[in-house]
Symmetry: C2
Subunit: 316 residues, 2 copies
């Protein structure tokens, strides 16, 4: 059994590849909720939805977020009314947020609401939020801290990043499914998907109980680098690394995760990074990491699984 | 200056006719909110929206409610998720509910939110809720009381009606614009639109402060009958009258309003009712009341205004 920790698009792609190989009982995808926010009275969970839509085969691959065959009548009408229209919500996507919010208001946990939504969309594999407790990512900038979606969507990642804060993480505990999977004797490996180390995986690692569980693991933990040829495949990871003085490379990713890693999968094009990373005691697999289609996703998932199953947990 | 008290479709049509004749400052349309309800976390105000969309020229005339050129992607997606889909919300219409709810949650009154929404849609004439206080109509049936929208939409008006309750009406006061208009020395007449006397006008009259203001008026009050040839033009008015033992006729409507009326406009086809109503001291105008298009709406509005301006307030 495999636990995959995932953010949005890149995480969703690898999760999709893993789901093609592993049976539903043999995979848990635990998803960042630091990006979640309340907007227009709705609980919006962008990363959970990216993973859910992808595993359901309903995602829009061109746009990179939301549902395929989406329409925007609601947003057009909201703009006409002078409403807050900086965060685009498709007509079909909106139903997810409304139904999730209804379930949360009715007393369900985010785990329960997520399971119900995913089941309704026909997702067989297990998707869980990283936590049922609220964790909210703040992006620190010279002009002050910004709620993540204001930085990410409203300001299009333009402000310079000086750091991050994960509000609520100190009190948050891993979601029941994640805690159970990490304690399951059948667990074979933990995979950090090719997601942003700061704002996708970072909020998870900021939970002391998750950090403790990862430190106490008996199985290997491998990351898949989201950096390819000195750039991020998608999103602000490379920009953040540069602004924070982290080398924009897979070696920089390995350094960011530090002693947590037993291994890392980097792109074959970045083979020059291998020696430096291995010198730090981390095993490296250089393989094609760009996922352009389902074939790439499956191939990378197979490479990651083979790699993870072939290495040992480093001595803590 | 004219105050029109309106429910949904029939009220919206006459209000539209009045708005063609009267300047924005010379008309206040005060709208039933007893049909309002909380649904999917949203404050839905069906009658306010019917009047607002009609005055904005955006209503769907064929369907009879909601916006023209509407789409239903949200509802389709919500149904797929197993959400509550018995109350249809169009993609564009949904923006109205979301923006109204946002404004209410931010602390605006329903009057303020309504004025902002109507202005954004280009409505020049004033639309106000009957009250900023919550009033909720319950429909009493042999099987118990039903919230109005459950009776009206979910159960398609099928249960037999034994009475009504207007929760909150005893504590509700007229909205500021309505109270001010009724006290305005420029007020010429009050018009009860051709709306359901029980569930559109009834919730208004159930507010003691409004009933008192109407009783203290110095100007004539005229109703327009929603019954034509023994049937309601739209909606459950005739069915309710029959179940409550009220004659299904314009005479029955006049009897229902009782001493409140100075005059009533009934359809020319129901001229046989004139003598009976006038015997009760209520003046009658028999005129075409069916509003099939904007020309009918304007013609009826002109007839109603001419009639109202030509009669006196009965001695209280």
């Amino acid at each position: 059994m495999i636990v995959a920790l995932a953010g949005g698009v890149g995480g969703a792609k690898l999760a999709h590849g893993l789901a093609r190989i592993l049976s539903p009982d043999d995979l848990l995808v635990a998803v960042n909720t630091g990006d979640d926010f309340e907007h227009l009275g709705l609980h919006i969970a962008p990363d959970l939805d990216s993973v859910m839509y992808k595993l359901a085969g309903l995602n829009d691959a061109v746009r990179g977020w939301g549902l395929a065959d989406e329409s925007w009548a609601f947003m057009d009408a909201l703009a006409r009314l002078g409403g807050e229209d900086w965060f685009s919500l498709g007509d079909r996507d909106l139903a997810t947020h409304v139904e999730r919010t209804r379930r949360l208001v009715a007393g369900e946990t985010l785990s329960q609401a997520t399971a119900a939504l995913a089941a309704a969309l026909g997702v067989a594999h297990r998707i869980a939020p990283m936590s049922d407790d609220p964790v909210r990512t703040w992006v620190e900038t010279p002009e002050g801290a910004l709620p993540f979606q204001h930085y990410f969507v409203r300001l299009r990642c333009e402000p310079v990043v000086t750091g991050f804060a994960f509000e609520g993480a100190d009190r948050a505990v891993p979601a029941p499914a994640l805690a159970a999977a990490l304690a399951d004797p059948a667990l074979e490996a933990i995979v950090l998907c090719p997601s942003n180390p700061f704002v996708s995986i970072g909020p998870m690692l900021a939970m002391p109980a998750l950090a403790d569980a990862l430190a106490a693991r008996r199985v290997p933990l491998v990351a898949v680098s989201p950096i390819l040829g000195g750039a991020a495949v998608k999103g602000p990871a490379a920009k953040m690394m540069a602004e924070l003085g982290v080398p924009v490379s897979s070696a920089g990713i390995a350094a960011q995760y530090g002693a947590l890693l037993d291994g890392i999968v980097i792109d074959a094009a970045d083979a020059a990074d291998v020696a430096g990373i291995e010198a730090g005691g981390v095993r490296v697999l250089a393989a094609p990491t760009l996922m352009r289609d389902a074939g790439d996703e499956r191939a990378l998932a197979e490479a990651v699984l083979g790699f993870a199953r072939g290495i040992e947990r480093r001595a803590p």
